[in-house]
Amino acid sequence: MALLDLRQRTGWLFMAVTVGHILLISAQVNTRRGVPLLEAVTFGAFAEVQRVATSAIGSVRDGWTNYFALQEIRRENVELRDEVAKLRVGLQQEQALSQQTRTLQQLLDLRSSIKLSTMAAAVIAGGASPEFRTITIDKGTGDGIATDMAVISPVGVVGRIVLPTSRAAKVQLLIDRDAAAGALIERSRAQGVLVGTGTERLRLDHVPGTADVKVGDRVVTSGIEGIYPKGFAIGQIESFERRAGEFAAVMIRPAVEFSNLEVVLVVVTAPADAGGRAKKTETAPSKATGAP
């Protein structure tokens, strides 16, 4: 009976577990075309746990907000009224500018207008591993979500869908080490490839040495990879180095505060369908915008 007791044979058990993991890893490295079934099933099941956990935490937060923070809201209300008044003035100015821009755009016929269809989704969980920058949202294939759809927020680009299940989806954030996107500097129109660094900063690679780059320049999506719609805010240039005439380490502070995401918008119309010029590239799901 002792022969059958695996606890007496820890060395063999350790060997078996190690070999099992190596086989599992090898299988994926060789056939990394689709999403592994185990990954999809585990993610789908745990997304439900995350949904319950998030809703429990949300209830506690709502309770706090509703019952204990009313005084704060009153003060905030006064401030917001002032802000609305200022914004109304600003809006009138913006409308005038917008009208001028529309007229010029029509005259120059620079590009057809892009109408993006978006779907709001709540963030129900953060990444399970500190090594990967992902979030889980409460919309899945049942709501029309598919792999490689862009995820944005009112302030800028968030990331892309990497694993949709029926009721939830995993979003790879732009700051993940494996994430990348076509980007351009709005002022000088210099193009580059934006890559995640795994930290709260982004890096713009392959910027031509002759490009006009300044700290504070706004960086937007170029739409060249066919995932993110063109012209959406990514962030601002924080610092850069120039080595032997080439740009190196152009660091970008993202427009989106990735740790405070609560609701995001999924772009359900692919940029190509919406009138963009980019074509969708066919690559492996988690490496579609993989870093070069």
Partner: protein, 168 residues
């Protein structure tokens, strides 16, 4: 009964990691609560429990992340086994040895995790030293707190019971 406790600990660590950790540390999660749970289980239950819990927890964590399935599992299973083995060979009930174990386990886990990715040419980790050191420190602090809380619980209950008895 112990297996159920281990599974609950892993589930709790995963739930906390995915829901709370991102708020606490501002997006760049410097703590791996799942690893803390695995090290705790390994120290309290031995190498087999450490390895199996590491394997299961790592696999779940892998499937919830966007990386290769199995790398986190292998790294955590190995760390769980080694920590469990060390826990049986040496006395690690004092604070300092536990701190060293948590720091060592985090560094070992990160070395394995990053090493396998680099070996398979799936990811690069330019200058990860600061991130590893921060995580080692964060995990050690959380682990020490976890041990202190769990170990003070029976004594606290006993004191409450004694207090009630003396009142009657």
């Amino acid at each position: 009964m112990r297996a159920a406790g281990v599974l609950i600990a892993i589930a709790l660590a995963l739930a906390l990691q995915t829901t709370l950790a991102r708020f606490v540390v501002g997006g760049t999660a410097a703590i791996d609560l799942v690893l803390v749970a695995v090290v705790y289980i390994a120290l309290t239950s031995g190498p087999v429990s450490g390895m199996l819990s590491g394997s299961v927890a790592g696999l779940i964590q892998d499937s919830l992340s966007s990386g290769l399935l199995g790398i986190g599992g292998l790294a955590k299973a190995t760390v769980g086994f080694i920590v469990g083995f060390l826990g049986q060979q040496f006395i690690v009930t004092a604070a300092l040895p536990r701190l060293v174990i948590f720091v060592g386990a985090t560094v070992g886990h990160q070395a394995l995790f990053m090493g396998i990715y680099v070996l398979l040419q799936q990811r690069t980790f330019p200058s990860p030293w600061k991130a590893v050191a921060t995580q080692a420190l964060g995990n050690a602090i959380v682990g020490m707190i976890a041990f202190a809380v769990v170990e003070s619980f029976p004594g606290m209950m006993e004191r409450r019971r004694a207090g009630r008895r003396s009142r009657h």
